[in-house]
C-alpha cells in the first residue's frame, strides 16, 4: 500500500507534522498491549474490588436509579449488533430498523407523558432537564427559573453548571415537610417553573395550584416525572406540563453505575421548532411505501450552527430502543402492575419500619409511591455503613442538596418489584441489630 502511494515508510505519511512536536520513538507512556483473555482478566480485577448489588447486597437505594428486573427479551434484542454497531441514521434507506424503533419509542414516551411530541431521547435525566429549561427560556425570553428543591440534587447541580453559560437565574424553592413551599419564592416572576413528580423524596405533590398560577401568568411548567409512577399517576401532560422530562433507566436499563441512561423528553406541538436533539418522522419513499427519517433537521446545530438553541447532535439511541422494548414487553397491564408492585413493596416497608420503633419518623405525611424519606435513630451515613455488613444497601442519605432542610439527615428508601417480603423483614431485623 505504501508503494502505491510512493512512500517508503509509514512515517512519510506524517511529514506535515512539525518534527519539534512529534512524539519521541518511545511513543506513548502506556503499558504494552495484552491479549484478549488478559484484558478480560484485568477488567475482572477491577470488578472484584466492587461489591455489586445482588442477593448478598440487597438494594433499597433509588434516587433516580432503580434496581428493577430486566426482561431476557430486552437483554437479547438490545444487544443485537445491528442496533449496537450502527451510527446516527444519516442514510435512512439502510437505517429503517433504528428509525422505526425510535419512532415507536417516541410514541411510547408521548403516550406515557401525555404530550404529543417526544424527541428521540437525550443523554440522561439531568441533560433533559437542562434542555427543557433552555427551550422554555428561548420561548418566553424570561431567564428566571424557579426550581423546586424536590428535584434530584444532582440534576439541580447540573442545571446550575450549565446556567453559567446560558446566564439563567436559577432560584431554588425549598421543600417544607417534603412539599415545595412556593410561597417562599421571591417576588420576581419566573419564565419557567420546574417541579418533581413524584419529587426526589418520593412525595407526590399536589401540583394544581402551581400549574394554575403558571397558566395565569404565562409561565412554562417543566415536570420532572418518574416514568414508572406515571403508569398510575395522572400524566404530566394532563397536569399542564409544557415540557415533561424523566430519567428512563427504570425500563430495561441496569444500574450500570449510573450510565449510560437515557433522558425522556416530550412537549407540546407548539414548541416543536425549539425541540432539542433528534426527531424521527414518518414519510413515504419514492414508491409510496411508508418509511422513517430524522426530520426538522433545520432546528439542529449542524445547519443552524451558532443560532441553534441546543448543541445536541446525538441521542441515546441504543438505550432509547432498550426502553421501548422493555415498555412493550411490560405492555399496558404490565407497566401498571410494575408500578403497583413498587407501591405495594414501598408501603409494606414503610409500615414495618414505623412499627419497629418511634425513632423512625417519616419526613412527610404526604402520599408517596415508590420511595420515601425517613428519619433514623443514627445518622444515615453510619446506618448505611453498618447495614452493608448485614448485606443491605439501605438507601441514600438525604444530605447533599438538603443542608438546612427539615429532610436533611433522613434516609431515602426505595422498594422495587424485585424486593420480597422476606428481604424486607430481614432488613428491618438487621436495622434493630445495628442501631442498638
Amino acid at each position: 500500500m505504501l508503494g502505491f502511494l510512493g512512500f517508503s515508510s509509514v512515517e512519510d505519511l506524517f511529514d506535515e507534522i512539525p518534527a519539534s512536536i512529534r512524539l519521541a520513538k518511545e511513543g506513548l507512556n502506556l503499558p504494552e498491549g495484552i491479549s484478549e483473555p488478559d484484558v478480560l482478566d484485568e477488567i475482572e480485577l477491577y470488578a472484584s474490588r466492587n461489591i455489586p448489588v445482588s442477593r448478598d447486597l440487597v438494594c433499597f437505594a433509588g434516587g433516580g436509579a432503580y434496581d428493577h428486573d430486566v426482561s431476557s427479551a430486552t437483554v437479547a434484542l438490545a444487544s443485537r449488533s445491528e442496533f449496537m454497531t450502527a451510527y446516527t441514521p444519516y442514510q435512512p434507506e439502510v437505517a429503517q430498523g433504528v428509525l422505526q424503533a425510535l419512532f415507536e419509542y417516541q410514541t411510547l414516551v408521548s403516550r406515557l407523558s401525555g404530550l404529543p411530541i417526544a424527541n428521540a431521547s437525550l443523554y440522561d435525566g439531568a441533560s433533559a432537564l437542562v434542555e427543557a429549561i433552555n427551550l422554555c427560556v428561548a420561548q418566553t425570553k424570561n431567564r428566571i427559573v424557579w426550581m423546586s428543591q424536590g428535584i434530584n440534587p444532582s440534576f439541580r447541580e447540573v442545571v446550575n453548571t450549565f446556567s453559567a453559560g446560558t446566564n439563567h437565574e436559577i432560584i431554588e424553592v425549598a421543600l417544607t415537610r417534603g412539599v415545595t413551599d412556593w410561597a417562599s419564592a421571591p417576588e420576581s416572576r419566573p419564565g419557567v417553573i420546574v417541579v418533581g413528580y413524584p419529587n426526589y423524596l418520593g412525595i407526590i405533590e399536589d401540583l394544581r395550584s402551581i400549574t394554575e398560577f403558571a397558566a395565569q401568568n404565562d409561565i412554562r411548567i417543566v415536570i420532572v416525572y418518574d416514568p414508572v409512577s406515571a403508569a398510575l399517576l395522572k400524566s404530566p401532560g394532563s397536569l399542564g406540563a409544557d415540557v415533561a422530562v424523566a430519567e428512563g433507566q427504570a425500563f430495561g436499563v441496569g444500574l450500570n453505575f449510573g450510565g449510560p441512561y437515557v433522558g425522556l423528553f416530550s412537549t407540546k406541538n407548539e414548541y416543536v421548532r425549539l425541540l432539542p436533539g433528534r426527531l424521527v418522522g414518518e414519510t413515504l419513499d419514492s414508491l409510496g411505501n411508508k418509511g422513517y427519517v430524522t426530520t426538522l433537521r433545520t432546528r439542529e446545530q449542524d445547519i443552524r450552527r451558532e443560532k441553534a438553541s441546543s448543541n445536541v447532535c446525538t441521542n441515546q439511541t441504543l438505550i432509547a430502543i432498550t426502553v421501548a422494548i422493555q415498555m412493550s414487553w411490560l405492555g399496558k397491564s404490565g407497566i401498571k402492575e410494575l408500578a403497583k408492585r413498587c407501591y405495594s413493596g414501598t408501603e409494606f416497608m414503610k409500615k414495618r419500619l414505623l412499627e419497629s420503633g418511634p425513632a423512625y419518623q417519616l419526613v412527610s405525611d404526604a402520599p408517596t409511591l415508590r420511595e420515601f424519606a425517613v428519619k433514623t435513630p443514627i445518622p444515615p451515613e453510619d446506618l448505611l455503613d453498618r447495614m452493608l455488613e448485614e448485606g443491605f444497601l439501605a438507601g441514600i442519605p438525604v444530605r447533599h442538596g438538603f443542608v438546612g432542610s427539615d429532610a436533611e439527615g433522613s434516609l431515602l428508601i426505595s422498594v422495587t418489584e424485585k424486593r420480597t417480603a422476606k428481604e424486607i423483614e430481614a432488613f428491618v431485623n438487621a436495622l434493630q441489630r445495628v442501631v442498638k
Binding site: 507534522i17 442496533f83 454497531t85 400524566s235 433537521r297 445547519i303 448543541n311 446525538t314
Partner: protein, 516 residues
C-alpha cells in the same frame, strides 16, 4: 499460497426474504389483553394505590402501551434489525464519525456483574474497583492527549465541548477577565458554534485559505483582548494537518486566549503527536470514535475532557481520585471536588459502561498498538484517496490524515450526478455511504474515513464500487439508474421534504392522519 484474498460478500441491509414488505409498528401488532410481562413471587400483598394516594392524583385512563406476546415482540424487533446496516455487517466509511469495528471483548468486559450491577450512589467503600478504573482511564486519556488531568462525565462530544468551554469561561472569570469571543474555523463541526453560544461566548469564524488550512493572517487579525480562545480540530475536517499549529497556538496564547482541541479526529494522531504538545489547553475526545465503543445507532457515546495543569482546578466534580492508602498499602480511592470546579455535568458519573469498553480497548492495544492504529487509519485513507482520485479527486491533493474529502463537482458537471446520488448508489454495493455535503467549504463533498479496521480487500472492493458508479454515471441509462438509487434497500429514496412539511412524529399522529 493459494488464491487471491477476497473481500466479503455484499454486506447488506437487504432482508432475507421479501425484503420490501414494511414491518408494521408495534402498535399495529397489539391485541387486547396480551402481555409478555412476568413478575417474581415476593410474598407482598398487592395493594391498590388509592389506599393512600388521593384519587385526583391517579390516572382515570391507563397509558396505552402495546399489548403483545413475547414471541411477537422478539420477532418484530428482530425484523427491524434486518432493515438496519451496521459496522458488524460491512464497511462504514462515514467521514468524521470513525466507524471502526468494535471489538467484542469490550462488550463482554462491560457486562461483568461486578461492574454493571452497581448503584451509582453506593458508598465509596463498595466501589473501589470502579473508582480505580476511572482514575486509570483518565490517566491513559491524559497521556494520549498530552494533558494533565481529565473528566469522564460528559456524555458525548458535544457535551464535552460545552464542558471545555465552561472551563474556559471559569478560567477567565477567575483571572477577573471579561472575554467574550471564541474563534472557530469555517470548516468546524456544527456543534462548535452551537456550544460556543450555549457557553455564553460569541463565535467568530476564521476562514480557511486555499490550502484548506486556517489562514494565519486572518486569524491574527481577529485576535484581541476580547478573545477567550479558539476551537480547532487537528487534523481538521478536511483531513488535513494544521501544520502552522505552533504559530496558531502562540498567537492565541499571546492575547491570553486558550486553545481548545475538538478531538473528533484523534484517530489520526495517537502516539504520533499529542494535542498537549501542539499547545492545546483543553481537549475533548469521543470514546465511541477513537476508542471503538459501539455507536449504538447514534448513542450512547462518551466525551471525556482533558486539560492542562493550570486548568485542572476547574474540572467538573465529583471527580474520582486517590484519597489515601489502605492498611495493606494499596491505594484508597474516593471522590473529590476540584477547588474551583465548574460543577456537575452528568446525573451520576457519566456513561460508565462506555469507560470499561474504552479502557479494555486501550489495554489491548497498548501504546505501540494505538500508534499503529493511527498509522493504519492514515495509510488506509491515503490509499483510498489516491485509488479513487481519477473519478473523485480530493478537494486538496495532498497527503491526508485519517480521512479525506473528495469532490463530485467534476462528475456533476459532466453527468449531472451529484454527491448524494453517488452516496445512495453505494448503499446497493453493500457499503455505507461516506458523509455527504460536509464540510460546507467543499462543493459536492464526499467525506471518506475508511478507518484502520478495513482490510485492503475491502478497500479495493469499495474503490471498485465507486468506479462502477462513475462509469454508470457516464451513460444515459446508467445515469437514470444512479438517480433512482437505492432500489434494492428496504425502502427507496425517502421524501424528507414531506416528512418536515407534514410532521408525523408518533404512531398516533400517523393514525389520526389516516382517519382524516
Amino acid at each position: 499460497m493459494g488464491k487471491t484474498p477476497q473481500p466479503g460478500a455484499k454486506a447488506s441491509s437487504i432482508p432475507l426474504m421479501d425484503g420490501r414488505a414494511a414491518e408494521p409498528t408495534i402498535f399495529e401488532l397489539s391485541v387486547p389483553e396480551r402481555t409478555a410481562a412476568s413478575f417474581r413471587t415476593t410474598g407482598i400483598p398487592l395493594k391498590e394505590p388509592s389506599t393512600s394516594v388521593p384519587s385526583y392524583l391517579l390516572r382515570d385512563q391507563d397509558a396505552e402501551m402495546p399489548e403483545i406476546s413475547e414471541r411477537d415482540l422478539v420477532a418484530h424487533f428482530t425484523r427491524l434489525t434486518h432493515r438496519q446496516f451496521s459496522v458488524d455487517l460491512g464497511a462504514y466509511p462515514l467521514g468524521s464519525c470513525t466507524m471502526k469495528y468494535n471489538p467484542k471483548f469490550a462488550d463482554v468486559s462491560a457486562a461483568i456483574s461486578g461492574l454493571a450491577n452497581i448503584h451509582p450512589n453506593q458508598p465509596e467503600s463498595t466501589i473501589q474497583g470502579w473508582l480505580e478504573l476511572m482514575v486509570t482511564l483518565e490517566s491513559y486519556f491524559s497521556e494520549i492527549t498530552g494533558m494533565a488531568e481529565a473528566t469522564l462525565q460528559p456524555s458525548a462530544g458535544a457535551q464535552g465541548e460545552l464542558t471545555g468551554l465552561l472551563i474556559m469561561k471559569a478560567y477567565h472569570k477567575d483571572l477577573g477577565r471579561q472575554r467574550k469571543n471564541v474563534i472557530i474555523p469555517d470548516s468546524a463541526h456544527g456543534t462548535n458554534p452551537a456550544s460556543v453560544t450555549l457557553s455564553g461566548f460569541h463565535p467568530i469564524t476564521v476562514k480557511s485559505g486555499p490550502d484548506g488550512l486556517v489562514d494565519l493572517d486572518a486569524l491574527k487579525s481577529l485576535l484581541d483582548e476580547d478573545t477567550a480562545g479558539m476551537m480547532l480540530t487537528n487534523p481538521n475536517t478536511l483531513g488535513l494537518f494544521e501544520k502552522d499549529i505552533l504559530e496558531i497556538s502562540r498567537a492565541v496564547h499571546e492575547v491570553g486566549g486558550l486553545l481548545y482541541y475538538d478531538g473528533a479526529n484523534l484517530n489520526a494522531i495517537m502516539g504520533i503527536v499529542r494535542p498537549g504538545d501542539m499547545g492545546f489547553d483543553i481537549v475533548h475526545s469521543n470514546l465511541h470514535k477513537t476508542f471503538a465503543t459501539p455507536h449504538g445507532g447514534g448513542g450512547p457515546g462518551s466525551g471525556p475532557v482533558a486539560v492542562s495543569r493550570r486548568l485542572a482546578e476547574f474540572l467538573p466534580g465529583p471527580k474520582p481520585a486517590v484519597v489515601g492508602v489502605n492498611p495493606n498499602g494499596s491505594n484508597k480511592f474516593g471522590f473529590i471536588q476540584p477547588p474551583k470546579s465548574i460543577g456537575r455535568i452528568h446525573s451520576f458519573h457519566g456513561n460508565a459502561l462506555i469507560f470499561i469498553r474504552a479502557l479494555a480497548y486501550m489495554k489491548y492495544y497498548g501504546g505501540q498498538g494505538l500508534t499503529e492504529v493511527s498509522q493504519t487509519a492514515v495509510l488506509n485513507a491515503n490509499w483510498l484517496r489516491k485509488k479513487i482520485s481519477d473519478s473523485y479527486p480530493a478537494a486538496h491533493d495532498v497527503t491526508c490524515m485519517h480521512e479525506f474529502v473528495a469532490s463530485v463537482s467534476r462528475l456533476k458537471k459532466e453527468t449531472g450526478i451529484r454527491g448524494i446520488d453517488v452516496a445512495k448508489k453505494l448503499l446497493e454495493f453493500g457499503f455505507h455511504a461516506p458523509t455527504v455535503y460536509f464540510p460546507l467549504v467543499v462543493e459536492e463533498a464526499l467525506m471518506f474515513e475508511p478507518t484502520e479496521t478495513e482490510s485492503l480487500q475491502t478497500l479495493q472492493a469499495l474503490a471498485s464500487a465507486l468506479e462502477s458508479i462513475a462509469q454508470l454515471s457516464r451513460t444515459p441509462d446508467g445515469q437514470f439508474e444512479v438517480h433512482q438509487a437505492p432500489t434494492q434497500t428496504p425502502v427507496t429514496r425517502l421524501d424528507e421534504t414531506r416528512a418536515a412539511r407534514t410532521l408525523i412524529p408518533t404512531f398516533d399522529a400517523s393514525d389520526a392522519m389516516a382517519k382524516d
